[in-house]
Structures are given as structure tokens and as C-alpha cells.
């Protein structure tokens, strides 16, 4: 009798979830945020449907403030793998001049990410969207189902979720309703990195330490990725050895000082870390129930 390892079990579960979506939904899409979780998600999807090509496109909701290296990585991976990539930008937000510096993180995320995502889902009429969120990331995510039903207005009702026993998913919905599906729900940050190492999955180089131009602002190290970041009085750009634990909009993502230039070193650092992964995310910390509220409003 074969006994599967922990990672083999997680892999099989994720593949099962993806196939279930493709077998039961009309028009699925995979949210591709370019981070390590998205890389793992994409890798699993290639496995799930092999030898067929991906039976759905990737969607990147671009806030126009992502690290340049992320965008390069995104375009290169899509080309190499021959997958269908949709990039959506909320043009109204751009026209209104929304940006993370002067509009604040909250409004920027609402308009460029949450609104942008809803626009894209509505435009293309996607009825199921895969996301790479994990339950170990955040306390309201720990409460979410793998198949998370959203109303036609994209709202999540956390108090009234469907029971989800075993690996049996109720995939029925009314017209207009859709699912957010989280195949990595049961993975932890450590599982993701172990899997990246084991399967040799390419990830954005920003996860590894390198000398980068950073500015210390409100106790967080922000990388000056382009000239749009204007220095405040007293601030100066310094070259420091840093890396990132999660990736998002560069003005909202704190860097860690680190010497970890290899995967092994990153793994070691993560195992001994005493702060959580999302600690560097500016948006998570505005208000205790902040993530839940964003999710209710349609954020992933």
C-alpha cells in the first residue's frame, strides 16, 4: 500500500478541487497575482489537466503599482507556458488618479483591486475564480470554505456558509452568483515553500535577498521601484540587502532585511521567524476585522 506524504496529499487535494470546478462550472478563471502562491496554483493546474492545456485563462487585476519585476515575470511565464493571460486595469480608478500614496491604502485597494476584480469578473462573466489564499494567512480566511459562494453583487456572507463535509462540494448556484475557489486552503506558508523547492517552481526573484533601493517610512522599508515614489522631507534612499515575504503593490509591501539569497536560506529564515507572513502588508492592519470586511465587499 502506498502511503502519501503530506505534500502529496495536499497536491492531490488541490488537483481534485480544480477538476471539480472545471467539471461543474461554465466559465472558470484563475486569479493570478504573481506571488509564490499563484506560482504554486498555476503549477498544480498544469498538472491537474495534463495533457490538455489549461481549460481556463489567467486573470491579473493590475493596480499599476506592482513591482516591475513582477510584471516582467508575469509576462515571461505566460509566454513560456503558452497560457491565456487577461490583464485588467480599472481605468476609472486610473482616471480618478487613485494611488496608494495620496489616496491611502484603503481606498487604493478598494478601487484598484476590489472594484477592478469585480469589473473583470462581470465583463467576462466568469462564474468561478480560483485564488491562492490559504487559511493560515489570516483569521477570517481560517473561516472560509474551499468553495466560497458570492452573491451577484460579489458579497460573501460569512455567517451563512454551506456545510462542506469531506471533499464534497456543493457547486450549484443561481444565475449571477459565482464561486471563489481556494485550492490551497489547507496549505501553510511552509508547505508552499517546501513544494516550491521540491518541484522547482519558478518564483519572482524579489523573494530572495539582493541589494535594493529602500526608504524607511512609518517603520516599514519600502522599495523605491520607480520615480512615482516621491521622497518626504528627511527621507533618503538607501541600498540595503532585502527581500520580500509576500508581494503586492510596492508602496504597500514592506521589505525585510535579509541575507537569504537561496531557497534553502529563505526556508530557514521563514521557519525561525517570529512574525507572520502578512505583517508587511499595510492593508491588513487597518482595523481588526479589516480583511473580513474587504472580503465581504468582494475582495478576494
Amino acid at each position: 500500500m502506498i502511503q502519501l506524504t503530506h505534500l502529496q496529499k495536499l497536491e492531490a487535494e488541490s488537483i481534485h478541487i480544480m477538476r471539480e470546478v472545471v467539471a461543474t462550472c461554465d466559465k472558470p478563471v484563475m486569479l493570478y497575482s504573481i506571488g509564490k502562491d499563484s506560482s504554486v496554483l498555476l503549477h498544480l493546474a498544469l498538472k491537474a489537466f495534463y495533457p490538455a492545456k489549461l481549460p481556463f485563462p489567467l486573470l491579473h487585476v493590475d493596480t499599476t503599482w506592482k513591482f516591475r519585476e513582477m510584471i516582467e515575470f508575469r509576462d515571461r511565464r505566460a509566454r513560456e507556458l503558452g497560457v491565456d493571460l487577461i490583464v485588467h486595469i480599472n481605468d476609472e480608478g486610473v482616471k480618478a488618479g487613485i494611488n496608494p500614496f495620496t489616496s491611502g491604502s484603503r481606498l487604493h485597494t478598494d478601487v484598484m483591486k476590489t472594484e477592478g476584480l469585480k469589473q473583470a469578473l462581470d465583463t467576462y462573466k466568469f462564474d468561478a475564480a480560483f485564488g491562492g489564499a490559504r487559511r493560515d494567512e489570516e483569521k477570517s480566511r481560517a473561516k472560509e470554505r474551499i468553495f466560497s459562494l458570492r452573491s451577484a453583487e460579489h458579497r460573501w456572507d460569512p455567517k451563512n456558509q454551506r456545510p462542506e463535509p469531506w471533499s464534497l462540494y456543493n457547486t450549484r448556484k443561481r444565475p449571477g452568483e459565482s464561486f471563489r475557489v481556494f485550492p490551497l486552503s489547507n496549505w501553510t506558508e511552509a508547505d508552499v515553500w517546501d513544494y516550491v523547492a521540491l518541484e522547482n517552481i519558478p518564483v519572482v526573484p524579489l523573494y530572495f535577498a539582493a541589494p535594493r533601493p529602500v526608504v524607511e517610512r512609518d517603520g516599514t522599508l519600502i522599495m523605491q521601484d520607480d520615480a512615482r515614489m516621491v521622497l518626504l522631507p528627511g527621507e533618503k534612499v538607501e541600498e540595503r540587502m532585502v527581500r520580500f515575504r509576500t508581494l503586492g503593490c510596492y508602496p504597500l509591501t514592506g521589505a525585510l532585511e535579509s541575507q537569504a539569497t537561496t531557497l534553502e536560506a529563505v526556508l530557514d529564515e521563514m521557519r525561525s521567524s517570529r512574525v507572520s507572513e502578512r505583517q508587511g502588508r499595510v492593508i491588513d492592519n487597518d482595523g481588526a476585522a479589516s480583511m473580513e470586511q474587504k472580503k465581504q465587499e468582494g475582495y478576494f
Partner: protein, 528 residues
């Protein structure tokens, strides 16, 4: 082939990175018994709470906490705004942590009766349940209900955590009394082990460190027990192979693969297989994966296989081989845990989803509802939210299943309300329960059940339908017999005709119901 797919990795327990084994568990028990506090405390003491989250906990405890200025560990797990405001758990939280010896996936479930279905969700994948009891209150209805549901879902190991010992002066006799009553309650629930531990979740007594207040307790502390308890493999040896087909992979005309997760047993290239329900047979040609073909695959793996000959297979079919106990049928008996606000009624029609199969299902018989206090059966006409019942379902196309006790994948199902799409029940196939019931109950009860099966339960739609047709039949028979009897000029002839008409017509109707049951097709796949 890459490292991840190396099938040489063997062992009894599921190994996690670093050679650690994995234990899946849940906390359950009545409301406010301290489940979330216990898990929060354990996460904290195992170092699974990051410093920034501890800072947040400190702030939250001051704002929402029930423990004055000290930390309220429940807030580490109660992650929804409504939960924090009300100080209760509403939905399951899944937490992942490890100790030096094991990895744990914990489902912290709500104690409120209203949210029992969320407890059942957490229990469905667990090997062990920590059942909490408030030392001041002892066993409550909800404690019994959770013990029963855990047993139904075959959670085999129980830790009876008698909590809040600090509030009863760490009294040994209270602990022993509760343990005793639980042993009595658990008779017949078939747990493989019951381990009682006196704890104080709030203060951390006997959670990770041994309590200094309860020198009389010599057993293991909670974490120590969780690290060492042997739960045994979930996969059974020697089961025949079963693969519920999830998705047909057809990238081009030359390739036709059947994708799915193996529900039981193992398979090799070249093995003979049968397809249920249609009974065709073939041979495994390839076990295809992205990392190269496999020679052997087993339970739990998500695979794509191709067959040597052209056979007609679609989603919901099951590919089997060897001595499988999976079988097909149109009728199945099962326990259901009702999860919808709208009660189960005999006349309602649902959609059943079992493994990858789906069909319309009628509840054709409601044999009994289990009384949570006595665990006894009662004959009733409906099952309310959180009720547990034994039912017979009839589906409108053959479905492939097994007993839940033998296989969780092929024996577990959900019923979906066709109008609201909500999940109306969590079900467990149990073929023996009906026979057990018949053996256990007297003939009078059996006759009553039979008759009720025909005429419907008082007040039900079936009963109204029965009465309506009875009245119509009587009327027609009287008219017919009267007319013919008058024409023949003989009363006995009229009477005979009256009776014959009544009997023949109800017979014909019964047969029609049996044979020509109208079936509404259910659209599978595409966009339901």
C-alpha cells in the same frame, strides 16, 4: 518522475516534512465550554502564534475579551467580526500547527446548536475529537449530540476534556463523575478510545504543561496524548480499486483520459477494470501524469488513466477493479444529519451528490429520527434542522456507492435543496441499519411502519394524496356498482363489482407508481 511522485515512500502513518506524522482533530462540545480558548491556548504554548498576532491579541482582549485585562485566547481563533462581538464561535476555524513530534490540523467548531452543521463539517475529516465539558455543568444535550455525530461520522478517538477545573476547586470527584457518565453515554457509540483529561483551558492546566493543582491526575496531559495517540491508517488494506470519474480529459481526438481521485485500493497498468454502473470492462493502458507515466497508483492520488478499448464513460461513473464493495443501485438507506432550516419531509425531492455522481433523489421512507437524549428511534413525519434520521432514498438514475463504514468517499454524500441550492443534509450510506432496525423492533412497529409507508404520515402531503384518492375511488366504485347492480337487478353482483373495482384500480395505480415513476433529468456538468 520527480520526488513528489516517488511511490516508494511508505509507512503506517502519513508522514509530514521532517518525518513528523499528521493528526487531524476537532474540538466540540456545548456552547461556552471553552473549545476556542483551549485551541488558542495550545497554539500559544506551541509557539504557533506570531509576535505581531500576539500584539493584536492583547489589543483585542482589552476590547472584546471576557477575561478582564488578561488574554482571551479564544480571540486567536474566533476570526469573524460577529464571533468576536458575541463571544461565540459561529463557523469552523481551521488551524495548522506542529509540536516537536507531530503536525496538527485542528478544526475548532461551534457549540451552539444552531451551528451544528458546522461541527459536522469539521468532524467529517477528523481522526480524533476533543469533546469539552464544563466541569460545573457536566454533560449537556449538545455534548451528547456532538458525541453522537462524531460517532456517526466515524471519528474513532475521543478526548474527554473536562474543562474549567479552576472553577470547581480542581475537585477529583467531579472529574470522575463526569468521566463515569460519559462512559455510560458512549456505550454503543463505538469509539476506539476515550481519554478523559481534567484541564483548565484559560490557565493552561494539563494542556501542554502538567497542572500543579491536580496532583491526583496521573494520566497524560493533552498535547502529550495528541502527540502519541495511534489513530491507525484511514486507508484499508485489501480493498478493491475504485475511481469515481471526475472529469473526462479530451484535448484532441487521440487522447481520452479519465481524471479523478482514487477512492479505494490501488491499480497497475494492465489491470482489468469494470465500469459502473453500465458494467462494461476494459484494461488500464496508461496512468498519465504531468511528470511522466506511473506504473502503480493508489488511494488518495489524483490521477488520469486511459483504457485499452473504447468505452463510454462520463463523469459520475466509477472505474472499479478487484474485489470492490462498491455497487450500483436506485435505492439506498442512509443516516442524514439535517442541515437546512426547511425540515426534511417525505414528499420533497432533492439532488444527491455522492463522490462525483449526481442524481435527483426522493426520500421515500423516513424510518426513524434519533432522539439525541436517549439515542432512541422515534417514528415521525419530518426531520428538523440538526436532526439525525435514518431514511431510504430513491434516485432517478443508477448511482454507485458503498457503505460509509467501508469507504468515506463512496459512502458520504450531501443532499441539495433544488430550489434554494443550499446543502440540506450530510448523509452516510448504511445498508445494515435497516436490517438492525427491523431486528430490534417488534412486529407491531414494523406493521405500523409498513402501513405508514403506504398511507403517509398524518398531516403529510402523502396522507392527503392518499385520502383524496381513497374518496375518489369510493365514489367511482359506488356509482359503477350501483349502475351495474341496478341493471343486473341484483345486489350481490353490485357488491362484487364494487369491491373488484376498488381492488383492481388501487393495484393498477400502485403498479403504475412503481414502474412509471416520471423522472426529470438532471443536468450534470455544464453550469449548474
Amino acid at each position: 518522475m520527480n520526488a513528489l511522485q516517488d511511490p516508494k515512500i511508505e509507512g503506517v502513518a502519513i508522514s509530514a516534512p521532517g518525518g513528523k506524522t499528521l493528526l487531524r482533530l476537532l474540538t466540540c462540545g456545548s456552547v461556552d465550554d471553552g473549545k476556542s480558548t483551549l485551541i488558542g491556548r495550545m497554539l500559544y504554548e506551541c509557539g504557533a502564534v506570531f509576535d505581531d498576532k500576539l500584539g493584536a491579541l492583547d489589543r483585542d482582549s482589552k476590547k472584546f475579551g471576557t477575561q478582564g485585562d488578561s488574554l482571551d485566547f479564544a480571540l486567536l481563533v474566533d476570526g469573524l467580526a460577529a464571533e468576536r462581538e458575541q463571544g461565540i464561535t459561529i463557523d469552523v476555524a481551521y488551524r495548522y500547527f506542529g509540536s516537536a513530534r507531530r503536525k496538527f490540523i485542528v478544526a475548532d467548531t461551534p457549540g451552539h446548536e444552531q451551528y451544528t452543521r458546522n461541527m459536522a463539517t469539521g468532524a467529517s475529516t477528523a481522526d480524533l475529537a476533543i469533546l469539552l465539558v464544563d466541569a460545573r455543568k457536566g454533560l449537556l444535550t449538545q455534548t451528547r449530540r456532538h458525541a453522537f455525530i462524531a460517532s456517526l461520522l466515524r471519528v474513532r478517538h475521543i478526548v474527554l476534556a473536562v474543562n474549567k477545573m479552576d472553577l470547581v476547586g480542581y475537585d477529583q470527584t467531579i472529574f470522575e463523575d463526569i468521566t463515569q457518565s460519559f462512559q455510560t453515554l458512549a456505550q454503543g457509540l463505538g469509539f476506539a478510545s476515550i481519554t478523559p483529561i481534567p484541564v483548565s483551558a484559560r490557565d493552561g492546566d494539563n494542556i501542554v504543561a502538567r497542572s500543579t493543582h491536580m496532583g491526583w491526575y496521573a494520566g497524560p496531559v493533552l498535547l502529550e496524548h495528541l502527540e502519541t495517540v495511534q489513530v491507525g491508517p484511514q486507508a484499508r488494506e485489501g480493498q478493491g480499486f475504485a475511481l469515481p470519474v471526475q472529469w473526462v480529459n479530451r484535448p484532441d481526438l487521440d487522447f481520452r483520459g479519465y481524471a479523478g481521485t482514487i477512492a479505494a485500493g490501488s491499480i497497475r497498468v494492465g489491470d482489468r477494470v469494470r465500469i459502473l454502473p453500465n458494467g462494461q470492462s476494459s484494461e488500464v493502458a496508461r496512468l498519465v501524469t504531468h511528470d511522466g507515466d506511473l506504473q502503480l497508483a493508489a488511494q488518495g492520488q489524483a490521477v488520469t488513466l486511459t483504457l485499452a478499448s473504447e468505452v463510454d464513460i462520463s463523469r459520475g461513473d466509477v472505474i472499479v477493479s478487484g474485489a470492490t464493495s462498491a455497487r450500483q443501485g436506485l435505492e439506498l438507506s442512509a443516516h442524514v444529519v439535517w442541515t437546512s432550516e426547511t425540515p426534511l419531509r417525505l414528499d420533497n425531492r432533492y439532488v444527491i451528490k455522492l463522490a462525483t455522481g449526481q442524481a435527483n433523489a426522493d426520500v421515500v421512507a423516513l424510518h426513524r429520527v434519533i432522539d439525541i437524549n436517549s439515542f432512541e428511534a422515534r417514528a415521525v413525519s419530518e426531520v428538523p434542522l440538526n436532526g439525525v434520521a435514518l431514511v431510504t432514498l430513491r434516485v432517478d438514475r443508477p448511482i454507485v456507492f458503498d457503505d460509509y463504514a467501508r469507504n468515506r468517499v463512496l459512502g458520504g454524500f450531501i443532499l441539495i435543496d433544488r430550489l434554494s441550492n443550499e446543502t440540506a443534509a450530510i448523509g452516510l450510506v448504511n445498508s445494515d441499519a435497516l436490517a438492525d432496525l427491523a431486528r430490534a423492533s417488534g412486529w407491531a412497529e414494523q406493521v405500523e411502519r409498513r402501513v405508514i409507508g403506504h398511507i403517509g404520515v398524518a398531516g403529510s402531503q402523502a396522507r392527503r394524496r392518499f385520502l383524496r384518492s381513497l374518496v375518489a375511488d369510493l365514489l367511482v366504485a359506488v356509482l359503477l356498482a350501483g349502475a351495474l347492480g341496478f341493471w343486473a337487478g341484483s345486489l350481490p353482483v353490485g357488491l362484487v363489482l364494487f369491491l373488484a373495482d376498488l381492488i383492481i384500480r388501487s393495484l393498477v395505480r400502485a403498479l403504475c407508481r412503481r414502474w412509471f415513476r416520471p423522472s426529470e433529468g438532471v443536468s450534470d456538468g455544464g453550469g449548474i
